[in-house]
Symmetry: C2
Subunit: 471 residues, 2 copies
């Protein structure tokens, strides 16, 4: 009890500290070259992020307070503040949340999980590798890492569940937390590996043409595969060391999985329906570009079929308050970040950096620009938004300072993907995991930060050396 | 079991019937004067409404299927289709949902409920009258019936709970269902009674000026109070007859309430906080017009304080999946209805009606126009939207046919409020009740339809007679 009171008191001190920090920034004179609204919005946004990082507030609470501060002070118009709620890709995450429940409930998730355990289940590390490998395998056909996270998440959820690692009974760290974080890290790599594995990649390749750099599916993969392969080996193992699952070696797991599969018997009617819906959805998602289909509407259709067939019911929906929580905090942070960009804050920071690197030799500029581009993702709630806002600016600065355009182009386009785990909201693909309950936001900041650091180091060393050989 | 199978089979037949109906409309030749998209959207929208009315699908399922149909057929752009999700007033409802949970959990809801029961609790009918009277009393200071529903709902929820009528254990019809429906009906009356009790009322009064009709707070109340008073007496009693609560006379309830209040003891710290937040929110809502505050941001602030003080927690949020469900279906239906309007469908219907009434004597036109205006609300998911779209058109038709402008103006402005219960989505004030679980959508269609019928009859008879005396 006393311990509990102490925790509460500590939390309140932290809240006051963050509030003081925010007020200090707010009342500071606005830096030259910025509109006051931009500076005020930055003060609100960075305070909200800080509150989550130091564990003063959950991300939901922090976001709604930031929103009310931004609107009630007139820093943001109501229209801008609420615009995130109607973003298709955010709604896609929410629907994916609900469909994931159907995958579990139908029994299909269990079955797939047992099949994976049967083959790779001797150790938690093995499971982690197999999940990331699967992601990399499907990703070239999947230009939406958000949709991909919606496919991987229910399987990982089932893997955790069936290994006795659940949120409700406090066993999240047994296996689930580790696997979720591994898969999030894996998504940063699978998105980096293929030109077609993330929505913004082709747009970036297009933008690079104005600097005379031409990128194809093949050239992208050739440049990316060496550092990505190294990281594929490295990252699950590092997470295993710094954020270890309590369940490590499970030599008897494959045999248990075989028995459990035998006990499950033949594929049930609900599993068949779930499989058909799932495959149908995946098929339509893959074809969405060619056929001009909206991915979110496809997901809604899938969910509707699951409801007609009673695989997902209104009673199930009533339990999914977390999905609402996720919708709220992500929509809010997305809108704040977007407005920080449209108010000119990002361009101001960009100008600042390009001024700072003036006069250095090109290798130094190359490193500084890369590191800045990675770190600045703390403030972006969308990989695509960062790329659209800063890629050309940063590339231009570097090229002017003598960095070879091709090298810098690839590095920034890769960084757009490999920096995604620096915050829970750093990619829409993170969000479904962050909302699962298996991971605390502060854990994502910490271990996601480590993943981002490792990614950056490997790309700056091995990745750069590889580029110098082949380009 | 057999009975259960029969119900399922019946449901599937109904689903097929609605689907056939929708396809038939879709493939019919588009009526002259309409764009094909408008007709197709109408086919989708009316099928979705039908599915809910005949109990073929829950409103959530019906809405998401309608959305995917509208988007995947290209009838609606994705931007238009998802626009409802970022509407402030819809988000306000959702936040009110969460705050209502805090009112219950803190114990404040119980205390207020017991205080009401102590005074009016001898019968369910008495409770119903007291709730509606309270609404009418606060409404002139409350230009948002949505916000008002957010205040009344937690109290009614507590009243039901503490009388042993809950959703979870199947006792919703004991008292809760009746009280919820009564309060929804009450909101149609409180909004009709005062110029300042609903956001669209002053806008309508303003629009009436171009027809030479001048409306003040006093003149509005004078014209409205006679029919509203009659309905105040009539409606709770009619609902009591057609939709009776299982719990009717409760002579011992007031004494029990006194004892329960004694047992609750002094007001707890959480109740004080909850009360302060609630009164603060209500105060800011009332001042929102004068001070230019966004009501939704105020609600988010209130929720944030409840979370910091742990009155509402993340664990509570996880249970609020129904709020997500409500956000989804209401946002979708709102967007569909709005687009039906912007695609010209409503104007087309308006033209149709004005053509139909040509040549009739003015009293006939007066009745036809009123009845049409009420019935057409089946297709509108916002009272304000209907008023903006049709009020001037309908008024113009009537005036041209010789109806006294003042009478027609008042009638249409009143009808904008008293027709709100014709569907679950007919007013944003309905939505929090419709999402409570105490009422099935088909019950709202049925008994809300009866309330609308009674409202319309009383306004056309007593209301009209009163106008002929005083105007």
């Amino acid at each position: 009890m006393k311990q509990h009171m102490k925790t509460i008191r500590k939390e309140h001190y932290l809240q006051l500290a963050v509030l003081a920090f925010g007020l200090l920034l707010w009342f500071m004179p606005t830096p030259e070259g910025l509109k006051p609204e931009a500076w005020h919005l930055f003060a609100i946004f960075i305070s909200a992020i800080m509150a989550v990082m130091v564990n003063a507030l959950p991300i939901f609470t922090s976001s709604i307070l930031a929103l009310s501060a931004a609107v009630l002070t007139g820093t943001l118009s109501t229209k801008d503040a609420y615009s995130g709620f109607s973003q298709e890709f955010i709604l896609l995450i929410i629907v994916a949340f609900l469909i994931a429940r159907g995958v579990i409930k139908s029994g299909l998730g269990r079955r797939i999980a047992f099949m994976i355990i049967k083959r790779f289940g001797k150790s938690s590390l093995g499971l982690s590798y197999s999940v990331i490998a699967a992601d990399m395998f499907i990703s070239p056909a999947f230009p939406s890492n958000t949709a991909r996270s919606g496919i991987l998440y229910p399987i990982i959820n089932a893997l955790a569940h069936d290994s006795g690692s659940k949120v409700a009974d406090g066993t999240r760290k047994k296996l689930g937390a580790y696997l979720m974080l591994s898969s999030m890290a894996g998504l940063t790599l699978s998105s980096t590996l293929w030109l077609t594995a993330m929505a913004a990649n082709p747009a970036g390749a297009k933008m690079a043409e104005q600097f005379g750099v031409h990128i194809s599916f093949g050239s992208w993969a050739t440049v990316a595969f060496v550092p990505v392969l190294v990281l594929f080996v490295l990252v699950p193992w590092i997470l295993y060391k710094v954020f270890p699952p309590e369940l490590k070696e499970t030599p008897q797991a494959p045999q248990m999985a075989v028995e459990s599969l035998a006990k499950m018997g033949k594929v049930s009617k609900n599993e068949w329906i779930m499989m058909a819906v799932f495959i149908g959805m995946v098929f339509l998602w893959v074809m969405s570009g060619a056929w001009g289909l909206d991915k979110t509407a496809v997901a809604f259709l899938g969910l509707g079929i699951l409801m007609i067939t009673k695989i997902f019911t209104l009673e199930d929906l009533a339990q999914e308050g977390n999905a609402l929580g996720t919708l709220v905090w992500f929509s809010i942070l997305f809108a704040l970040s977007l407005n920080l960009e449209s108010l000119g804050f990002m361009a101001w920071v960009g100008g600042f950096i390009s001024h700072a690197v003036e006069g250095y030799s090109w290798p130094v500029v190359y490193v500084l620009i890369t590191v800045s581009y990675v770190l600045i993702h703390y403030f972006f709630v969308s990989q695509t938004a960062q790329m659209l806002a800063l890629f050309s600016v940063f590339l231009g600065v570097a090229v002017k300072a003598g960095v070879p355009p091709e090298m810098m182009t690839y590095m920034l386009l890769f960084a757009t993907n490999f920096n995604a785990l620096i915050t829970p909201q750093g990619s829409s693909a993170n969000v479904i995991y962050a909302g699962s309950g298996y991971l605390e936001s502060s854990e994502i900041y910490k271990y996601g930060g480590i993943v981002t650091l490792v990614n950056t180091i490997v790309f700056l060393t091995i990745g750069t050396a590889w580029m110098m050989i082949i380009l």
